[in-house]
């Protein structure tokens, strides 16, 4: 099993509903976010193109944060989901330094926090909170190893890109373009 997420940048309107859903679902402290929306405007007026991207931890195949963690608090759960065990985390911030996406932050309680692909929901067969609330249905979540899954199909049929593939982390957050 290899869980991955895809975001359709052509359908995303940048409403930030995913951000609020995540903050509510995961009790994210006020002022912090595990996922966020990036708006990129490109071109020269009047020929402008806008791209909205809902970004989060990419749950990289070759996760730099897992490699750098001195205690093994950052580890991979089944399906390749990268999570932090709070009771093992010493808050040294090595993983924050190692993440090219800056997807991690230090929780006010001391440990390092990040997107978990809503592991607690996925284990119950539900979709992550951000995916399930998206009003434009622009987010896909599923197993890459299963060719029949929604995400495998959409990645087969659409053009997509990754963020900073040159960092060599092999991210699993796809952006449909």
């Amino acid at each position: 099993m290899r869980y991955a997420m895809a975001i359709d940048t052509l359908k995303c309107v940048g409403c930030s509903d995913c951000v609020v859903a995540c903050q509510t679902e995961n009790n994210v402290p006020i002022g912090y976010c595990r996922d966020w929306v990036v708006e990129v405007t490109e071109g020269t007026y009047p020929q402008l193109a806008l791209e909205n991207r809902s970004e989060r931890c990419c749950h990289c195949e070759n996760a730099a944060c897992v490699r750098c963690c001195p205690t093994g608090a950052s580890h991979k759960e089944e399906g390749g989901i990268v999570v932090v065990t709070h009771e093992k985390c010493i808050g040294c911030a090595a993983c924050i330094q190692s993440c090219p996406y800056d997807a991690r932050y230090t929780h006010p309680d001391g440990y390092v926090d990040k997107c978990t692909f809503c592991l607690h929901r996925v284990n119950e067969g539900l979709k992550p909170a951000c995916v399930s609330v998206c009003p434009t249905k622009c987010m896909y979540f599923g197993d890459l190893d299963n060719p029949e899954s929604e995400i495998s199909k959409v990645l087969k049929n659409r053009k997509w890109k990754l963020l900073i593939p040159e960092a060599g982390t092999d991210p699993k957050l796809y952006f449909l373009v």
């Binding site: 990036v38 708006e39 990129v40 205690t71 709070h86 911030a93 924050i96 190692s98 090219p100 932050y105």
Partner: protein, 337 residues
């Protein structure tokens, strides 16, 4: 002209707009760790080569400061941790992929070793105690007065004296261990940073050697600062000059590497070539901390009357600022997307 505007909704404390996960604590630790590593390398190297008579300061006095430097450095690291009560988790596992993990284990070995070596030197450095001094009286539970003229004190309990004799017999092993672990500690501080490919400015393998050489240079300067033996000062100022030469080469080597690399590393180098770190790096680290003291040392070796302590202080300051610049600049460098 094609333009791009990126607006991000993320504003996590310590991460945006510029990453600031590590601050002065890490810079202080990197400096003290490098200094301690340099002092232990000199002590180990010259003890193995039987130069005890020539380099009394380097072999006996300077190592007394090492446990102090290491403990202050470790305290700085501890202050930096955000989940402090779980720090012992470092010692429930070894992750060979994580430089921080084997660094933590190295420190667990080298700190007690440096304390043992410092304690073994106590009798040589302080042969005579004035037992009427009230501070010495506080030590009376471990030491006692003897009639000996050369060393007027001894350990109070037999097991302490036996342990001292045993450790003195094994001193050569101890010195080899200090030399090897000193080198590991000196390089590790640089490797720690170079392991983060997400921070292009740190992501260069030159950093390990640069920190080791800078540690050796600051350690030589520290010995010059506290030594009273002119021959020893002269020798360590020569060593220091060699280290400064290597350090300058490594700095140029590092920037050549950046400029010949990918866009993100070119951007990282530009912070130092006209960007916000230009003055603090080239002015305060390279000129004030390397070139100026090198010039002063050369002039002193040529016979001009210059106080060697001035050059030594400049080198220590330069090494300290170097760690700050690298810690902060690394966090300002990033992938753009």
């Amino acid at each position: 002209m094609r333009e791009e505007i990126i607006i991000s909704g993320r504003m996590n404390k310590g991460v945006d707009p510029i990453l600031h996960a590590w601050g002065w604590e890490i810079a202080v630790y990197l400096f003290l760790g490098g200094l301690a590593a340099g002092l232990l390398i000199y002590a180990g190297f010259y003890a193995i080569r039987n130069k005890e008579k020539n380099f009394f300061t380097a072999l006996k006095i300077a190592p007394m400061f090492v446990p102090f430097f290491l403990i202050v450095g470790l305290m700085a690291l501890f202050i930096d941790l955000h989940h402090k009560l779980y720090f012992w988790r470092l010692y429930t596992t070894i992750h060979l992929n994580s430089p921080m993990s084997w660094g933590a284990w190295t420190l667990l070995v080298i700190t007690p070793l440096s304390i043992i070596y410092a304690v073994l030197n106590l009798k040589t450095v302080f042969p005579q105690f004035n037992f009427s001094n009230k501070y010495i009286q506080y030590l009376s539970f471990t030491i006692e007065k003897t009639e000996d003229k050369t060393i007027n004190w001894n350990w109070k309990f037999k097991w302490m004296r036996d342990l001292e004799t045993f450790l003195n017999k094994k001193k050569l092993i101890l010195m080899w261990a200090l030399l090897i672990y000193g080198i590991i500690l000196g390089i590790y501080t640089g490797i720690l940073l170079s392991a983060f490919n997400a921070r292009p400015f740190w992501n260069t393998s030159v950093l390990g050697m640069l920190f080791l050489v800078s540690g050796l240079s600051t350690a030589a300067a520290f010995i010059m600062l506290i030594s009273k033996d002119h021959e020893e000062i002269k020798w360590f100022s020569k060593i220091d000059l060699a280290m400064i030469g290597i350090e300058l080469f490594l700095i140029i080597h590092m920037f050549m590497g950046f400029l010949a690399s990918t866009q993100v590393q070119i951007e990282a180098a530009r912070m130092f070539l006209g960007g916000q770190y230009t003055f603090v790096f080239w002015g305060m680290v390279v000129f004030m901390g390397l070139l100026l003291p090198a010039l002063l040392e050369i002039m002193e070796l040529r016979g001009y009357k210059i106080n060697h302590r001035f050059a030594a202080v400049l080198i220590l300051l330069g090494g300290f600022i170097l760690r700050f610049v690298i810690v902060y600049a690394g966090q300002s460098s990033r992938y753009l997307y």
